[in-house]
């Protein structure tokens, strides 16, 4: 049997092969967007340069990059844990929203107090609100068989409308002293402390990375994680092994929603300091691409959240410099999702072809 060293290194090894696929997805996305830029009359390389400059150009820029990475990492983890359980939670945007609402409310309703307690209380409130927004579709799926994709989309819109109402003119959370449709600012004791001077980056990024490690341990080292993964890969076999599938669907979607809630809470407590409608610019939808590109693995997601942080923060600079709409990033996102969607079947095809080549007809 002929050995093919390239096969062994890049395709035979599953985790390396995953990495290769992820890199290729980003690469192809950049190529396609290159042509879109050309067609719409921009010169692609300076635009890409601006994108990078926007993320790494200065300390402040890099800080902004990490500011975007934080909610992307939380929500990417949220999408991933649900995906590992066979659930498609595209409702993270709504879960972020309710998390933000709850955190902002606790943030301004109480007087100044011990910051550790106040911040913890706000984060816990965001966590619980997100968990509730995940529990509902989980319960609806387990009890009534309603596909989570439909229920979470409805819950997204409901969350957006609730947020809009709360800070509208007659809304109960509206800041009466301000014309802006926004809540009052949270107390200083509820603010998450900035990490360095001259940048908005805050301790939330550290919390997010720690959370990634917790989710990693949870998924791959604990009993609960094993049960979640078993339900996700084959709910019938899981059921046969004595695992309560419905309970795990509800629990996992609640955890997933809670991670979305964390993203929203940390965004409010660390960046905006007050609630306004649509405070999340679509982090919950980017979460899908973040998780898929990160191979639905917490460590991979740290890397891909960072990449999307670059795209998010760089795109603002790109728009300012060259007038390229920052939604170009969502096209990159879509193409990455498309490629990751294709990568599983195409990966199998590539492996088969290599196997056939190296095995020959000698068996």
């Amino acid at each position: 049997m002929k050995k093919n060293p390239l096969f062994d290194i890049f395709i035979g090894n599953d985790s390396v092969f995953s990495f290769v696929k992820a890199i290729l997805a980003v690469f192809f996305a950049l190529i396609i967007v290159y042509f879109i830029l050309l067609l719409t009359g921009y010169s692609p390389f300076p635009v890409y340069g601006a994108l990078l400059k926007g993320a790494f150009g200065s300390r402040r820029c890099f800080g902004e990059c990490l500011v975007s990475t934080t909610p992307l990492l939380f929500s990417g983890l949220g999408f991933a844990i649900a995906y590992r359980c066979g659930l498609f939670n595209i409702g993270l945007e709504g879960q972020i929203t309710v998390g933000g609402i709850a955190a902002a409310f606790i943030g301004y309703i109480f007087p100044e107090m011990n910051p550790v307690i106040h911040v913890s209380a706000c984060i816990a409130a965001g966590f619980l609100a997100g968990a509730l927004w995940g529990f509902i579709p989980g319960y609806l799926k387990a009890r009534f068989g309603i596909h989570e994709v439909i229920s979470v989309i409805m819950l997204n819109h409901i969350a957006f409308k609730i947020a809009a109402y709360l800070v509208s003119m007659q809304g109960p959370m509206k800041d009466r002293l301000d014309d802006m449709p926004a809540s009052p600012f949270i107390r200083d004791s509820a603010k998450i402390v900035r990490l360095v001077n001259g940048s908005r980056v805050h301790w939330g990024i550290i919390l997010a990375v720690i959370t990634a490690f917790i989710i990693w341990v949870l998924l791959f080292r604990t009993r609960l994680g094993f049960r979640i993964r078993a339900v996700g890969k084959n709910k019938y076999a899981a059921e046969t092994a004595g695992i309560n599938v419905k309970r795990h669907i509800i629990l996992t979607l609640s955890i997933s929603g809670a991670l979305g809630g964390l993203a929203g809470a940390v965004e409010i407590l660390g960046v905006h300091y007050r609630l306004f409608a649509a405070f999340s610019p679509g982090y919950g939808f980017d979460a899908i691409a973040v998780a898929l590109l990160g191979m639905v693995h917490p460590i991979g997601i740290i890397a891909s959240a960072f990449l999307f942080g670059i795209l998010r923060s760089g795109s603002v600079f790109m728009q300012a410099m060259y007038g390229v709409n920052k939604d170009m990033v969502s096209v990159i996102t879509a193409i990455i999702v498309l490629f990751m969607g294709m990568s599983a079947p195409i990966g199998i095809m590539i492996k088969d072809r290599f196997k056939r080549k190296s095995h020959g007809t000698s068996v």
């Binding site: 899981a238 046969t240 004595g242």
Partner: protein, 503 residues
């Protein structure tokens, strides 16, 4: 007589497997030709090539002396070839008529011409003596009738070469006789039949000639009248075969499972079990015989906590288990070899050691608080894999990459590792080759010797008769007859399976 089909030097490889190695097959017009071989011998691959479902790497096919090259079933159908698949290719929510005309629908304008279809179909079914209600939904008719729909489908398409892929596997003995009659009448009208099987008795009963395949090669071509079952068995397996598992004397012990007046719904919400009673004692194998769809799968699911009981009682060693979930059943000492190992038995994307953990995930010694000690799981899995002769390089390989036999051995290893009081085995040898079947049978027999209570559910009557101490016949959700192993005759059991006891 001229050969109507000639397949010459067919070679087909799948990744890592040489499925057909220069296989040649000749079938004469108007004969019933058996294709005999074990699972995995390459019979199905060969027939899928003939039917255009897969392409071969090299080789030639002649139909009526014409060289043909099929790019899909449509071409094969056009050449007059039809196939009755082992797993019926019927759409349950369509009517009989819709299933029959699909792909070849008479139309009037844009609309399907139902009146014309009905007339054509009534003609054909009348001609071959296979009348049936064309407007019934396929999901509502019996397995035997479904098979007739498959045969009619071929006749409707004007097939004169018909491939039957293991058609008897799911039929009662009576239904098999009916099928023989239909095949005979088809032959009399000039149809050619290729009959795929691994059952020697059937070869002797129905065929004119037989081609034996083993490991993707043709071993022999022979006239049926000039051979016998022993010789065929040797050709098929490549060694002498024991036809029945030895059953040592064993006195049944105390009652382990007692089921009384059990009611449960099937997956469509209809009544699946209607007052079923049975008991199984320690050191006893109780076989459930019956035609598919008479409540077997519901029974197994209820007895493993996978389906809700409506009423009645399930007692395992005097503990009431009705309404308990699967986890409780495992804890009470039940082991379960599910009929669909790919669906219920294994998680194909998981490595083997994680599959071995299924059902043990919350048990000592694999847990440490909320954590799982995967090193311990790997160690333990290695031991099990060796004890049950699962052929894998290591326990990290994905379960999906194992052969069917090895997968079933892995399931067996895990379930026996529970040291159960009660073993529920549902179709434990479905789709396995002879070697693996022998292995599974031996292990089940061994469990009985070790004093386990075994409930064996199988659609293969010979398996039931071979292993069981007692045979219960299930019909429409109830046990309607009981036979002791030594006093049972398959015709009698078959009669009961068809509901013969109740008029």
């Amino acid at each position: 007589m001229a050969a109507i089909i000639r397949m010459e030097n067919i070679i087909k490889t799948f990744p890592g497997v040489l499925a057909n190695d220069k296989v040649s097959l000749e079938v004469e017009k108007g004969e019933i030709h058996c294709l005999l071989g074990e699972n995995g011998a390459g019979k199905s691959t060969l027939m899928n090539i003939l039917y255009g479902l897969t392409s071969c790497d090299s080789g030639e096919i002649y139909i009526k002396d014409q060289l043909v090259e099929f790019s899909g079933p449509r071409d094969a159908i056009a050449s007059g070839i039809g196939m009755v698949h082992q797993h019926f290719m019927l759409i349950p929510v369509f009517t009989v008529m819709e299933n029959l005309i699909l792909g070849n629908e008479p139309v009037k304008g844009l609309k399907i011409d139902k009146i014309k279809s009905e007339k054509i179909l009534a003609d054909i079914s009348g001609k071959y003596g296979m009348e049936m209600n064309l407007h019934a939904y396929v999901k509502d008719i019996s397995v035997g009738m479904q098979q007739r729909v498959e045969i009619l489908k071929l006749l409707y398409r004007g097939a004169d070469i018909m491939i039957f892929d293991e058609p008897t596997a799911i039929l009662t003995p009576q239904e098999i006789l009916e099928l023989y009659k239909v095949m005979e009448s088809l032959r009399q009208r000039g149809k050619t039949i290729i009959f795929i099987t691994h059952k020697l008795k059937e070869v002797m009963e129905i065929s004119d000639r037989v081609t034996v395949l083993r490991d993707g090669r043709v071993i022999n071509k022979i006239k049926t009248e000039s051979t016998n079952t022993r010789e065929l068995a040797k050709m098929m397996v490549g060694r002498e075969v024991l036809f029945s598992t030895r059953r040592p004397e064993k006195r049944a012990g105390a009652e382990v499972l007692r089921v009384e007046d059990l009611y449960a719904k099937d997956k469509r919400g209809q009544k699946g079990l209607k007052g079923l009673c049975l008991n199984v004692k320690a050191g006893e194998i109780v076989g459930i015989a019956g035609v598919d769809g008479n409540g077997q799968s519901e029974l197994v699911e209820v007895l493993t906590g996978l389906r809700r009981t409506d009423s009645g009682s399930i007692k395992i060693e005097d503990r009431e288990m009705a309404h308990r979930n699967a986890g409780r059943f495992l804890a009470a000492g039940t082991a379960h070899i599910p009929d669909d190992r790919l669906l219920r038995g294994l998680i194909l994307d998981f490595p083997l050691y994680e599959n071995m953990l299924l059902g043990f995930q919350d048990q000592k010694p694999f847990t440490k608080g909320i954590f799982i000690d995967f090193n311990k799981v790997r160690q333990w899995s290695k031991g099990l894999v060796e004890a049950f002769d699962v052929r894998v390089p290591n326990v990290n390989v994905q379960a999906g990459s194992l052969s069917g036999g090895n997968q079933q051995k892995a399931v067996l290893a895990r379930e026996f590792a529970r040291d159960p009081k009660l073993l529920i085995a549902s179709q434990p040898t479905r789709g396995l080759d002879v070697g693996a079947i022998e292995f599974v049978h031996e292990r089940i027999m061994q469990a009985r010797q070790n004093g386990k209570a075994v409930l064996l559910v199988s659609l293969d009557l010979s398996e039931i008769m071979n292993l069981s101490d007692r045979i219960l016949v299930i019909y429409e959700g109830k046990i309607i007859a009981e036979f002791m192993a030594d006093e049972a005759a398959d015709t009698e059991i078959g009669f009961m399976m068809a509901g013969g006891g109740k008029k």
